[in-house]
Protein backbone atom coordinates (compact mmCIF):
# COMPACT_ATOMS: atom_id res chain seq x y z
CA UNK A 1 0.00 0.00 0.00
CA UNK A 2 1.25 3.42 -0.89
CA UNK A 3 1.49 6.31 1.54
CA UNK A 4 1.62 9.00 -1.10
CA UNK A 5 -2.08 9.86 -1.18
CA UNK A 6 -1.71 13.06 0.82
CA UNK A 7 1.34 14.47 -0.92
CA UNK A 8 0.76 18.15 -1.77
CA UNK A 9 1.60 19.83 -5.05
CA UNK A 10 5.27 20.57 -5.46
CA UNK A 11 6.01 24.25 -5.01
CA UNK A 12 8.61 25.62 -7.34
CA UNK A 13 7.83 23.09 -10.00
CA UNK A 14 8.38 24.70 -13.36
CA UNK A 15 5.03 25.17 -15.00
CA UNK A 16 6.03 24.37 -18.51
CA UNK A 17 5.35 21.52 -20.83
CA UNK A 18 8.62 19.98 -21.99
CA UNK A 19 8.95 20.68 -25.66
CA UNK A 20 8.20 17.67 -27.80
CA UNK A 21 11.23 16.87 -29.87
CA UNK A 22 11.23 14.47 -32.73
CA UNK A 23 13.40 11.65 -31.46
CA UNK A 24 14.77 9.60 -34.30
CA UNK A 25 15.53 5.95 -33.55
CA UNK A 26 19.20 5.27 -32.77
CA UNK A 27 19.56 3.15 -35.89
CA UNK A 28 18.39 5.90 -38.26
CA UNK A 29 21.93 6.87 -39.23
CA UNK A 30 22.91 3.29 -40.03
CA UNK A 31 19.74 2.70 -42.07
CA UNK A 32 20.35 5.86 -44.11
CA UNK A 33 24.03 4.96 -44.54
CA UNK A 34 23.13 1.46 -45.75
CA UNK A 35 20.45 2.74 -48.16
CA UNK A 36 22.78 5.37 -49.65
CA UNK A 37 25.62 2.91 -49.82
CA UNK A 38 23.57 0.24 -51.60
CA UNK A 39 22.23 2.84 -54.05
CA UNK A 40 25.69 4.24 -54.81
CA UNK A 41 27.34 0.83 -55.07
CA UNK A 42 24.50 -0.39 -57.30
CA UNK A 43 24.93 2.66 -59.54
CA UNK A 44 28.70 2.13 -59.74
CA UNK A 45 28.39 -1.59 -60.32
CA UNK A 46 24.95 -2.98 -61.20
CA UNK A 47 26.16 -6.52 -60.44
CA UNK A 48 26.32 -5.48 -56.77
CA UNK A 49 22.52 -5.44 -56.68
CA UNK A 50 22.16 -8.98 -57.97
CA UNK A 51 20.32 -11.12 -55.39
CA UNK A 52 23.19 -13.61 -55.24
CA UNK A 53 25.61 -10.83 -54.29
CA UNK A 54 23.27 -9.29 -51.73
CA UNK A 55 22.75 -12.71 -50.12
CA UNK A 56 26.50 -13.17 -50.13
CA UNK A 57 26.80 -9.88 -48.22
CA UNK A 58 24.23 -11.17 -45.71
CA UNK A 59 26.14 -14.41 -45.40
CA UNK A 60 29.44 -12.63 -44.79
CA UNK A 61 27.83 -10.28 -42.28
CA UNK A 62 26.12 -13.07 -40.33
CA UNK A 63 28.95 -14.42 -38.17
CA UNK A 64 30.71 -11.18 -37.20
CA UNK A 65 27.17 -9.76 -36.95
CA UNK A 66 26.34 -12.24 -34.20
CA UNK A 67 29.33 -10.91 -32.27
CA UNK A 68 28.14 -7.35 -32.91
CA UNK A 69 24.80 -8.21 -31.28
CA UNK A 70 26.57 -9.36 -28.13
CA UNK A 71 28.92 -6.39 -28.25
CA UNK A 72 25.97 -3.95 -28.07
CA UNK A 73 25.09 -5.27 -24.62
CA UNK A 74 28.71 -5.05 -23.44
CA UNK A 75 29.15 -1.51 -24.82
CA UNK A 76 25.85 -0.44 -23.28
CA UNK A 77 27.32 -1.17 -19.83
CA UNK A 78 30.36 1.03 -20.65
CA UNK A 79 32.59 -1.98 -21.16
CA UNK A 80 34.20 -3.55 -24.22
CA UNK A 81 35.25 -7.12 -25.04
CA UNK A 82 38.19 -7.50 -27.41
CA UNK A 83 38.51 -11.25 -26.80
CA UNK A 84 35.30 -12.16 -28.66
CA UNK A 85 37.10 -13.16 -31.87
CA UNK A 86 39.36 -15.52 -29.93
CA UNK A 87 36.33 -16.98 -28.12
CA UNK A 88 34.75 -17.56 -31.55
CA UNK A 89 37.84 -19.48 -32.65
CA UNK A 90 38.27 -21.53 -29.47
CA UNK A 91 34.58 -22.49 -29.40
CA UNK A 92 34.83 -23.76 -32.98
CA UNK A 93 38.07 -25.64 -32.25
CA UNK A 94 36.63 -27.13 -29.04
CA UNK A 95 33.52 -28.27 -30.91
CA UNK A 96 35.66 -29.84 -33.64
CA UNK A 97 37.78 -31.65 -31.04
CA UNK A 98 34.68 -33.08 -29.37
CA UNK A 99 33.41 -34.28 -32.75
CA UNK A 100 36.74 -35.95 -33.44
CA UNK A 101 36.47 -37.61 -30.02
CA UNK A 102 33.20 -39.14 -31.20
CA UNK A 103 30.63 -36.87 -29.63
CA UNK A 104 27.35 -36.28 -31.47
CA UNK A 105 27.86 -33.10 -33.59
CA UNK A 106 24.79 -31.37 -32.15
CA UNK A 107 25.87 -32.10 -28.59
CA UNK A 108 29.38 -30.94 -29.43
CA UNK A 109 27.90 -27.74 -30.85
CA UNK A 110 25.98 -27.18 -27.63
CA UNK A 111 29.18 -27.74 -25.68
CA UNK A 112 30.94 -25.22 -27.96
CA UNK A 113 28.34 -22.53 -27.22
CA UNK A 114 28.55 -23.36 -23.51
CA UNK A 115 32.34 -23.09 -23.66
CA UNK A 116 31.96 -19.63 -25.21
CA UNK A 117 29.60 -18.62 -22.41
CA UNK A 118 32.06 -20.06 -19.89
CA UNK A 119 34.90 -17.96 -21.31
CA UNK A 120 32.61 -14.92 -21.08
CA UNK A 121 31.92 -15.84 -17.45
CA UNK A 122 35.67 -15.99 -16.75
CA UNK A 123 36.06 -12.56 -18.37
CA UNK A 124 33.23 -11.19 -16.26
CA UNK A 125 34.48 -12.66 -13.00
CA UNK A 126 37.95 -11.27 -13.66
CA UNK A 127 36.47 -7.82 -14.34
CA UNK A 128 34.66 -7.93 -10.99
CA UNK A 129 37.45 -9.56 -8.96
CA UNK A 130 40.24 -7.34 -10.29
CA UNK A 131 38.03 -4.23 -10.52
CA UNK A 132 39.52 -3.52 -13.90
CA UNK A 133 37.83 -2.34 -17.10
CA UNK A 134 36.82 -5.22 -19.36
CA UNK A 135 39.04 -3.72 -22.07
CA UNK A 136 42.17 -4.53 -20.05
CA UNK A 137 40.96 -7.90 -18.83
CA UNK A 138 39.85 -9.10 -22.27
CA UNK A 139 43.06 -7.82 -23.83
CA UNK A 140 44.84 -10.36 -21.63
CA UNK A 141 42.34 -13.18 -22.06
CA UNK A 142 42.31 -12.56 -25.84
CA UNK A 143 45.95 -13.65 -26.03
CA UNK A 144 45.39 -16.53 -23.63
CA UNK A 145 42.37 -17.87 -25.54
CA UNK A 146 44.10 -17.40 -28.86
CA UNK A 147 47.08 -19.34 -27.53
CA UNK A 148 44.82 -22.15 -26.32
CA UNK A 149 43.16 -22.32 -29.74
CA UNK A 150 46.48 -22.63 -31.51
CA UNK A 151 47.65 -25.33 -29.09
CA UNK A 152 44.36 -27.25 -29.44
CA UNK A 153 44.29 -26.98 -33.22
CA UNK A 154 48.08 -27.41 -33.54
CA UNK A 155 48.18 -24.22 -35.58
CA UNK A 156 46.62 -25.91 -38.57
CA UNK A 157 43.27 -26.00 -40.28
CA UNK A 158 41.17 -28.41 -38.27
CA UNK A 159 38.45 -30.36 -40.11
CA UNK A 160 36.41 -32.70 -37.92
CA UNK A 161 35.11 -35.98 -39.22
CA UNK A 162 31.43 -36.48 -39.69
CA UNK A 163 30.95 -34.29 -42.75
CA UNK A 164 27.62 -35.16 -44.24
CA UNK A 165 25.93 -35.47 -40.85
CA UNK A 166 22.79 -33.46 -40.13
CA UNK A 167 24.79 -30.81 -38.31
CA UNK A 168 26.95 -29.92 -41.30
CA UNK A 169 24.24 -30.24 -43.93
CA UNK A 170 21.89 -28.03 -41.91
CA UNK A 171 24.38 -25.25 -41.23
CA UNK A 172 25.89 -25.25 -44.71
CA UNK A 173 22.44 -25.40 -46.27
CA UNK A 174 20.18 -22.65 -47.56
CA UNK A 175 16.55 -21.97 -46.84
CA UNK A 176 14.42 -21.77 -50.01
CA UNK A 177 17.67 -22.72 -51.78
CA UNK A 178 19.01 -19.14 -51.53
CA UNK A 179 19.09 -17.84 -47.96
CA UNK A 180 22.11 -19.10 -46.01
CA UNK A 181 21.40 -20.74 -42.63
CA UNK A 182 23.83 -18.39 -40.88
CA UNK A 183 21.90 -15.42 -42.32
CA UNK A 184 18.64 -16.76 -40.91
CA UNK A 185 20.19 -17.24 -37.45
CA UNK A 186 21.61 -13.70 -37.68
CA UNK A 187 18.27 -12.10 -38.55
CA UNK A 188 16.27 -14.09 -35.97
CA UNK A 189 18.78 -13.42 -33.20
CA UNK A 190 18.88 -9.72 -34.08
CA UNK A 191 15.12 -9.47 -33.61
CA UNK A 192 15.16 -11.54 -30.41
CA UNK A 193 18.00 -9.56 -28.82
CA UNK A 194 16.38 -6.26 -29.81
CA UNK A 195 13.38 -7.33 -27.72
CA UNK A 196 15.67 -8.44 -24.89
CA UNK A 197 17.43 -5.06 -24.80
CA UNK A 198 14.30 -2.93 -24.92
CA UNK A 199 11.53 -4.99 -23.36
CA UNK A 200 13.04 -7.11 -20.62
CA UNK A 201 14.22 -6.29 -17.13
CA UNK A 202 17.71 -7.51 -18.00
CA UNK A 203 17.97 -5.18 -21.01
CA UNK A 204 16.62 -2.27 -19.00
CA UNK A 205 19.16 -2.88 -16.25
CA UNK A 206 21.96 -3.06 -18.82
CA UNK A 207 21.01 0.44 -19.98
CA UNK A 208 20.64 1.73 -16.41
CA UNK A 209 24.07 0.40 -15.39
CA UNK A 210 25.67 2.00 -18.46
CA UNK A 211 23.84 5.32 -18.05
CA UNK A 212 24.48 5.94 -14.37
CA UNK A 213 26.22 3.11 -12.52
CA UNK A 214 25.93 4.87 -9.15
CA UNK A 215 22.19 5.43 -9.50
CA UNK A 216 21.79 1.82 -10.52
CA UNK A 217 23.79 0.66 -7.50
CA UNK A 218 21.86 2.85 -5.07
CA UNK A 219 18.60 1.58 -6.57
CA UNK A 220 19.64 -1.94 -5.59
CA UNK A 221 20.60 -3.16 -9.08
CA UNK A 222 23.50 -5.63 -8.82
CA UNK A 223 25.72 -3.81 -11.31
CA UNK A 224 28.52 -6.37 -11.14
CA UNK A 225 26.14 -9.22 -11.93
CA UNK A 226 24.66 -7.29 -14.86
CA UNK A 227 28.15 -6.71 -16.32
CA UNK A 228 29.07 -10.36 -15.87
CA UNK A 229 25.87 -11.44 -17.62
CA UNK A 230 26.58 -9.19 -20.62
CA UNK A 231 30.04 -10.75 -20.96
CA UNK A 232 28.53 -14.25 -20.66
CA UNK A 233 26.05 -13.31 -23.41
CA UNK A 234 28.93 -12.00 -25.52
CA UNK A 235 30.83 -15.26 -25.04
CA UNK A 236 27.75 -17.35 -25.83
CA UNK A 237 27.01 -15.56 -29.13
CA UNK A 238 30.70 -15.69 -30.08
CA UNK A 239 30.60 -19.43 -29.34
CA UNK A 240 27.42 -19.80 -31.39
CA UNK A 241 29.06 -17.96 -34.29
CA UNK A 242 32.10 -20.26 -34.02
CA UNK A 243 29.91 -23.36 -34.07
CA UNK A 244 27.93 -22.10 -37.09
CA UNK A 245 31.21 -21.28 -38.86
CA UNK A 246 32.41 -24.83 -38.23
CA UNK A 247 29.12 -26.27 -39.46
CA UNK A 248 28.96 -24.16 -42.60
CA UNK A 249 32.66 -24.39 -43.56
CA UNK A 250 33.35 -27.87 -42.22
CA UNK A 251 36.67 -26.66 -40.77
CA UNK A 252 38.30 -24.01 -38.61
CA UNK A 253 41.53 -22.38 -39.82
CA UNK A 254 44.07 -20.54 -37.60
CA UNK A 255 43.19 -17.03 -38.81
CA UNK A 256 39.40 -17.41 -38.76
CA UNK A 257 37.58 -14.79 -36.69
CA UNK A 258 40.77 -12.82 -36.03
CA UNK A 259 39.16 -9.51 -36.98
CA UNK A 260 35.67 -10.29 -35.73
CA UNK A 261 35.91 -8.50 -32.38
CA UNK A 262 37.01 -5.23 -33.97
CA UNK A 263 34.43 -5.63 -36.74
CA UNK A 264 31.76 -6.19 -34.09
CA UNK A 265 32.79 -3.06 -32.19
CA UNK A 266 32.87 -1.08 -35.45
CA UNK A 267 29.42 -2.31 -36.48
CA UNK A 268 27.94 -1.49 -33.07
CA UNK A 269 29.35 2.05 -33.18
CA UNK A 270 28.22 2.61 -36.77
CA UNK A 271 24.79 1.33 -35.70
CA UNK A 272 24.38 4.01 -33.05
CA UNK A 273 25.67 2.32 -29.89
CA UNK A 274 27.62 4.82 -27.84
CA UNK A 275 31.00 3.95 -26.34
CA UNK A 276 30.02 5.92 -23.26
CA UNK A 277 27.30 3.38 -22.47
CA UNK A 278 23.68 3.62 -21.47
CA UNK A 279 22.13 2.95 -24.83
CA UNK A 280 22.53 0.63 -27.71
CA UNK A 281 20.83 -0.64 -30.81
CA UNK A 282 20.93 -4.30 -31.77
CA UNK A 283 19.23 -3.63 -35.10
CA UNK A 284 21.64 -0.75 -35.69
CA UNK A 285 24.63 -3.02 -35.04
CA UNK A 286 23.27 -5.59 -37.50
CA UNK A 287 22.83 -2.87 -40.12
CA UNK A 288 26.28 -1.53 -39.27
CA UNK A 289 27.74 -4.95 -40.04
CA UNK A 290 25.85 -5.04 -43.35
CA UNK A 291 27.37 -1.62 -44.17
CA UNK A 292 30.87 -2.91 -43.47
CA UNK A 293 30.35 -6.08 -45.50
CA UNK A 294 28.70 -4.17 -48.38
CA UNK A 295 31.77 -1.95 -48.63
CA UNK A 296 34.08 -4.96 -48.56
CA UNK A 297 31.97 -6.69 -51.22
CA UNK A 298 31.99 -3.59 -53.45
CA UNK A 299 35.75 -3.26 -53.09
CA UNK A 300 36.14 -6.88 -54.14
CA UNK A 301 33.83 -6.32 -57.13
CA UNK A 302 35.93 -3.34 -58.19
CA UNK A 303 39.14 -5.29 -57.85
CA UNK A 304 40.49 -3.16 -55.01
CA UNK A 305 43.39 -4.82 -53.22
CA UNK A 306 42.18 -6.65 -50.09
CA UNK A 307 44.61 -4.75 -47.86
CA UNK A 308 42.56 -1.61 -48.42
CA UNK A 309 39.58 -3.33 -46.81
CA UNK A 310 41.19 -3.06 -43.37
CA UNK A 311 42.01 0.59 -43.98
CA UNK A 312 38.44 1.36 -45.04
CA UNK A 313 36.98 -0.44 -42.03
CA UNK A 314 39.26 1.51 -39.72
CA UNK A 315 38.35 4.79 -41.42
CA UNK A 316 34.65 4.02 -40.97
CA UNK A 317 35.18 3.36 -37.26
CA UNK A 318 37.00 6.68 -36.87
CA UNK A 319 34.19 8.42 -38.74
CA UNK A 320 31.53 6.74 -36.59
CA UNK A 321 33.43 7.68 -33.41
CA UNK A 322 33.74 11.27 -34.59
CA UNK A 323 30.00 11.44 -35.30
CA UNK A 324 29.22 9.89 -31.90
CA UNK A 325 31.44 12.46 -30.20
CA UNK A 326 29.91 15.36 -32.12
CA UNK A 327 26.40 14.22 -31.21
CA UNK A 328 27.44 14.00 -27.54
CA UNK A 329 29.00 17.47 -27.59
CA UNK A 330 25.88 18.82 -29.26
CA UNK A 331 23.67 17.29 -26.56
CA UNK A 332 25.93 18.60 -23.78
CA UNK A 333 25.88 22.03 -25.37
CA UNK A 334 22.09 21.99 -25.54
CA UNK A 335 21.80 20.80 -21.95
CA UNK A 336 24.12 23.53 -20.74
CA UNK A 337 23.18 26.44 -22.94
CA UNK A 338 19.77 25.72 -24.35
CA UNK A 339 18.76 24.91 -27.85
CA UNK A 340 20.89 26.85 -30.36
CA UNK A 341 18.01 26.70 -32.81
CA UNK A 342 15.82 28.48 -30.31
Amino acid sequence: MTKTDTAPPLAGSANHQPRRRIRLPAETGAVVALAVLVAVLGWLSPSFLEPANLLSVLSQAALPGLLAIGMVFVLATREIDVSAGAVFHLAATFTALLMVAGMDPWLAALAGVTAGAGLGLINGLLVIALRLPALLVTLGTWWMIQGLSLVAGKGQTFAPTGAGSGFFTTLSGKAFTVVPAAGIVFVVLTMAMHVVLHRTRFGYRVQAVGSNPLAATYAGIPTGKVKVLTLVLMGAVAGLAGVIHLGSQGAIAPGDGGTFALLAIAAAIIGGTSLSGGSGSVIGAAIGMLVLQAIQSAMTLHGVDAIWTAFTTGALVVLALAIDRLIRLWRDWRAGHGDPLG
Binding site: T4, D5, A7, G12, T217, G220
Partner: protein, 263 residues
Amino acid sequence: MAEPLIRMQNIRKSYGRVQALEDANFHVNEREIVGLLGDNGAGKSTLIKVLSGAVPLTSGDIFIRGKKVSLRSTSDAIAHGIETIYQDSALVTQLSIARNLFLGREPIKPPRFLNRMDQEAMNTVARDLLKQVGISKNIPPTTPIGSLSGGERQAVAIARAMHFDSDLIILDEPTNNLGVAETQGVLSFVRSARDSGHSCIFIAHNIHHVFQVVDRIVVMRRGKVVADDIDPKKTNVTEVERIITGMSDKEIRDAVADGTPSH
Protein backbone atom coordinates in the same frame (compact mmCIF):
# COMPACT_ATOMS: atom_id res chain seq x y z
CA MET B 1 10.13 3.80 25.73
CA ALA B 2 9.46 2.65 22.17
CA GLU B 3 12.37 1.39 20.12
CA PRO B 4 13.51 3.88 17.50
CA LEU B 5 13.04 3.03 13.84
CA ILE B 6 16.81 2.88 13.29
CA ARG B 7 19.49 2.52 15.93
CA MET B 8 23.17 2.40 15.04
CA GLN B 9 25.33 1.41 17.98
CA ASN B 10 29.10 1.74 18.40
CA ILE B 11 29.67 1.93 14.66
CA ARG B 12 33.30 1.82 13.62
CA LYS B 13 34.52 2.08 10.08
CA SER B 14 38.14 2.23 9.08
CA TYR B 15 39.79 2.61 5.70
CA GLY B 16 43.23 1.21 6.35
CA ARG B 17 44.67 3.35 9.12
CA VAL B 18 42.07 6.06 8.71
CA GLN B 19 39.29 5.81 11.26
CA ALA B 20 36.25 7.29 9.49
CA LEU B 21 33.76 6.34 12.21
CA GLU B 22 34.68 5.84 15.83
CA ASP B 23 32.01 4.32 18.05
CA ALA B 24 29.31 6.43 16.45
CA ASN B 25 25.83 6.11 17.96
CA PHE B 26 22.88 7.36 15.99
CA HIS B 27 19.15 6.83 15.91
CA VAL B 28 16.08 7.91 13.98
CA ASN B 29 12.60 7.71 15.44
CA GLU B 30 9.39 6.89 13.60
CA ARG B 31 7.95 9.83 11.61
CA GLU B 32 10.95 12.00 12.33
CA ILE B 33 13.16 14.16 10.12
CA VAL B 34 16.71 14.17 11.42
CA GLY B 35 19.22 16.70 10.14
CA LEU B 36 22.71 15.21 10.03
CA LEU B 37 25.37 17.91 10.10
CA GLY B 38 29.12 17.99 10.25
CA ASP B 39 32.13 19.52 8.60
CA ASN B 40 33.85 17.87 5.64
CA GLY B 41 35.44 14.65 6.88
CA ALA B 42 33.23 14.52 9.99
CA GLY B 43 31.98 11.07 8.99
CA LYS B 44 28.38 11.77 8.01
CA SER B 45 28.78 10.44 4.48
CA THR B 46 30.42 7.27 5.77
CA LEU B 47 27.67 6.82 8.35
CA ILE B 48 25.06 7.14 5.62
CA LYS B 49 26.92 4.77 3.32
CA VAL B 50 27.04 2.19 6.10
CA LEU B 51 23.31 2.62 6.71
CA SER B 52 22.50 2.40 3.00
CA GLY B 53 24.56 -0.78 2.59
CA ALA B 54 27.03 0.89 0.21
CA VAL B 55 30.03 0.18 2.48
CA PRO B 56 30.39 -2.55 5.12
CA LEU B 57 30.95 -1.50 8.72
CA THR B 58 34.10 -2.60 10.54
CA SER B 59 32.26 -3.22 13.80
CA GLY B 60 29.07 -2.20 15.55
CA ASP B 61 25.39 -3.05 15.32
CA ILE B 62 22.41 -1.75 13.39
CA PHE B 63 18.88 -2.31 14.67
CA ILE B 64 15.62 -1.70 12.86
CA ARG B 65 12.70 -1.42 15.30
CA GLY B 66 14.83 -3.22 17.86
CA LYS B 67 15.79 -6.09 15.58
CA LYS B 68 19.45 -6.47 14.67
CA VAL B 69 20.04 -6.44 10.91
CA SER B 70 22.96 -6.94 8.57
CA LEU B 71 23.18 -4.50 5.65
CA ARG B 72 25.71 -6.00 3.26
CA SER B 73 24.51 -4.32 0.07
CA THR B 74 22.27 -1.52 -1.13
CA SER B 75 19.63 -4.10 -2.02
CA ASP B 76 19.78 -5.37 1.59
CA ALA B 77 19.10 -1.84 2.83
CA ILE B 78 16.27 -1.35 0.34
CA ALA B 79 14.75 -4.67 1.41
CA HIS B 80 14.80 -3.35 5.00
CA GLY B 81 12.99 -0.17 3.94
CA ILE B 82 15.98 2.18 3.74
CA GLU B 83 16.17 4.27 0.56
CA THR B 84 19.04 6.65 -0.15
CA ILE B 85 18.67 9.54 -2.56
CA TYR B 86 21.87 11.20 -3.73
CA GLN B 87 21.27 14.37 -5.67
CA ASP B 88 23.43 13.45 -8.66
CA SER B 89 23.02 9.71 -8.46
CA ALA B 90 19.37 9.16 -7.68
CA LEU B 91 18.12 8.84 -11.22
CA VAL B 92 19.21 7.76 -14.68
CA THR B 93 18.61 10.83 -16.82
CA GLN B 94 18.55 8.91 -20.11
CA LEU B 95 15.70 6.67 -18.98
CA SER B 96 12.04 7.62 -18.83
CA ILE B 97 10.26 8.90 -15.73
CA ALA B 98 8.34 5.61 -15.42
CA ARG B 99 11.45 3.49 -15.71
CA ASN B 100 13.26 5.62 -13.14
CA LEU B 101 10.43 5.22 -10.68
CA PHE B 102 10.83 1.47 -10.89
CA LEU B 103 14.63 1.44 -11.07
CA GLY B 104 15.73 -1.81 -9.46
CA ARG B 105 12.14 -2.94 -8.81
CA GLU B 106 10.77 -3.39 -12.30
CA PRO B 107 7.42 -5.20 -12.51
CA ILE B 108 7.47 -8.32 -14.67
CA LYS B 109 4.64 -9.60 -16.85
CA PRO B 110 3.69 -13.24 -16.64
CA PRO B 111 5.13 -15.65 -17.59
CA ARG B 112 8.01 -14.49 -15.41
CA PHE B 113 10.71 -16.55 -17.10
CA LEU B 114 10.40 -14.31 -20.19
CA ASN B 115 11.56 -11.40 -17.98
CA ARG B 116 9.33 -8.89 -19.84
CA MET B 117 8.69 -5.61 -18.06
CA ASP B 118 5.12 -4.52 -17.46
CA GLN B 119 5.43 -1.12 -19.12
CA GLU B 120 1.70 -0.36 -18.84
CA ALA B 121 1.69 -0.87 -15.08
CA MET B 122 4.79 1.31 -14.78
CA ASN B 123 3.21 4.10 -16.84
CA THR B 124 -0.03 4.01 -14.85
CA VAL B 125 1.74 4.30 -11.50
CA ALA B 126 4.08 6.96 -12.88
CA ARG B 127 1.14 9.12 -14.04
CA ASP B 128 -0.41 8.97 -10.56
CA LEU B 129 2.86 9.74 -8.83
CA LEU B 130 3.56 12.71 -11.10
CA LYS B 131 0.22 14.18 -10.05
CA GLN B 132 0.88 13.41 -6.40
CA VAL B 133 4.21 15.24 -6.43
CA GLY B 134 2.60 18.25 -8.06
CA ILE B 135 3.92 17.76 -11.58
CA SER B 136 0.51 17.68 -13.18
CA LYS B 137 1.27 19.16 -16.55
CA ASN B 138 0.46 16.15 -18.69
CA ILE B 139 4.01 14.98 -19.04
CA PRO B 140 3.93 11.50 -20.53
CA PRO B 141 5.63 9.04 -18.16
CA THR B 142 7.72 7.90 -21.10
CA THR B 143 9.50 11.28 -21.16
CA PRO B 144 13.20 11.07 -20.25
CA ILE B 145 13.64 12.24 -16.68
CA GLY B 146 16.31 14.64 -17.91
CA SER B 147 13.43 16.83 -19.15
CA LEU B 148 12.43 17.65 -15.56
CA SER B 149 13.99 20.40 -13.46
CA GLY B 150 16.35 19.58 -10.58
CA GLY B 151 13.64 20.09 -7.97
CA GLU B 152 11.16 17.97 -9.88
CA ARG B 153 13.70 15.17 -10.15
CA GLN B 154 14.27 15.27 -6.39
CA ALA B 155 10.52 15.12 -5.87
CA VAL B 156 10.24 12.13 -8.20
CA ALA B 157 13.09 10.37 -6.34
CA ILE B 158 11.39 11.00 -2.99
CA ALA B 159 8.05 9.90 -4.42
CA ARG B 160 9.67 6.70 -5.56
CA ALA B 161 10.85 5.98 -2.02
CA MET B 162 7.38 6.78 -0.68
CA HIS B 163 5.63 4.63 -3.25
CA PHE B 164 7.69 1.61 -2.30
CA ASP B 165 6.87 2.22 1.37
CA SER B 166 10.43 2.89 2.46
CA ASP B 167 10.46 3.49 6.21
CA LEU B 168 13.54 5.67 6.08
CA ILE B 169 14.45 8.05 3.25
CA ILE B 170 18.03 9.35 3.34
CA LEU B 171 18.42 12.60 1.42
CA ASP B 172 21.99 13.60 0.64
CA GLU B 173 22.21 17.28 -0.32
CA PRO B 174 18.70 17.36 -1.84
CA THR B 175 18.68 21.16 -2.15
CA ASN B 176 22.11 21.58 -3.67
CA ASN B 177 22.12 23.78 -6.80
CA LEU B 178 18.37 24.41 -6.57
CA GLY B 179 16.70 27.80 -6.84
CA VAL B 180 14.73 29.30 -3.95
CA ALA B 181 11.30 28.17 -5.15
CA GLU B 182 12.53 24.70 -6.01
CA THR B 183 14.23 24.37 -2.64
CA GLN B 184 10.98 25.29 -0.88
CA GLY B 185 9.19 22.73 -3.03
CA VAL B 186 11.57 19.98 -2.05
CA LEU B 187 11.48 20.96 1.64
CA SER B 188 7.71 20.91 1.64
CA PHE B 189 7.78 17.52 -0.04
CA VAL B 190 10.12 16.20 2.66
CA ARG B 191 7.66 17.42 5.31
CA SER B 192 4.82 15.69 3.50
CA ALA B 193 6.87 12.47 3.46
CA ARG B 194 7.15 12.72 7.27
CA ASP B 195 3.45 13.54 7.61
CA SER B 196 2.50 10.46 5.61
CA GLY B 197 4.49 8.18 7.90
CA HIS B 198 8.06 8.12 6.65
CA SER B 199 11.21 9.05 8.53
CA CYS B 200 13.99 11.02 6.84
CA ILE B 201 17.65 11.80 7.34
CA PHE B 202 18.40 15.16 5.79
CA ILE B 203 21.99 16.08 4.96
CA ALA B 204 22.74 19.55 3.62
CA HIS B 205 25.58 22.01 3.71
CA ASN B 206 23.08 24.84 3.94
CA ILE B 207 22.19 24.85 7.64
CA HIS B 208 19.29 27.23 7.04
CA HIS B 209 17.58 24.58 4.90
CA VAL B 210 18.12 22.03 7.66
CA PHE B 211 16.56 24.35 10.24
CA GLN B 212 13.49 24.80 8.08
CA VAL B 213 12.58 21.17 7.83
CA VAL B 214 14.02 18.91 10.53
CA ASP B 215 12.63 17.82 13.91
CA ARG B 216 16.04 17.09 15.43
CA ILE B 217 19.64 17.87 14.57
CA VAL B 218 22.54 15.47 15.00
CA VAL B 219 26.11 16.76 14.69
CA MET B 220 29.17 14.69 13.86
CA ARG B 221 32.79 15.62 14.32
CA ARG B 222 35.87 13.49 13.60
CA GLY B 223 33.91 10.28 13.17
CA LYS B 224 31.84 10.65 16.32
CA VAL B 225 28.34 11.88 17.07
CA VAL B 226 28.97 14.86 19.34
CA ALA B 227 25.37 16.05 19.72
CA ASP B 228 22.26 14.07 18.92
CA ASP B 229 19.34 15.87 20.42
CA ILE B 230 19.41 19.44 19.19
CA ASP B 231 15.96 20.94 18.87
CA PRO B 232 16.02 23.40 15.95
CA LYS B 233 13.24 25.42 17.61
CA LYS B 234 15.33 26.01 20.72
CA THR B 235 18.67 26.89 19.19
CA ASN B 236 20.16 28.95 16.38
CA VAL B 237 22.50 28.54 13.44
CA THR B 238 25.49 30.04 15.25
CA GLU B 239 25.15 27.64 18.14
CA VAL B 240 24.98 24.66 15.77
CA GLU B 241 27.99 25.97 13.85
CA ARG B 242 29.87 26.14 17.12
CA ILE B 243 29.11 22.49 17.78
CA ILE B 244 30.03 21.51 14.22
CA THR B 245 33.41 23.19 14.36
CA GLY B 246 34.09 22.66 18.04
CA MET B 247 34.93 26.36 18.31
CA SER B 248 33.75 28.71 21.01
CA ASP B 249 31.35 31.58 20.17
CA LYS B 250 34.24 34.04 20.35
CA GLU B 251 36.39 31.88 18.06
CA ILE B 252 33.56 31.74 15.53
CA ARG B 253 33.02 35.53 15.70
CA ASP B 254 36.75 36.10 15.25
CA ALA B 255 36.89 33.65 12.33
CA VAL B 256 33.92 35.33 10.62
CA ALA B 257 35.49 38.75 11.22
CA ASP B 258 38.76 37.47 9.71
CA GLY B 259 36.92 36.10 6.70
CA THR B 260 37.86 32.52 7.63
CA PRO B 261 35.01 30.15 6.89
CA SER B 262 33.70 28.59 10.05
CA HIS B 263 32.30 25.54 8.30
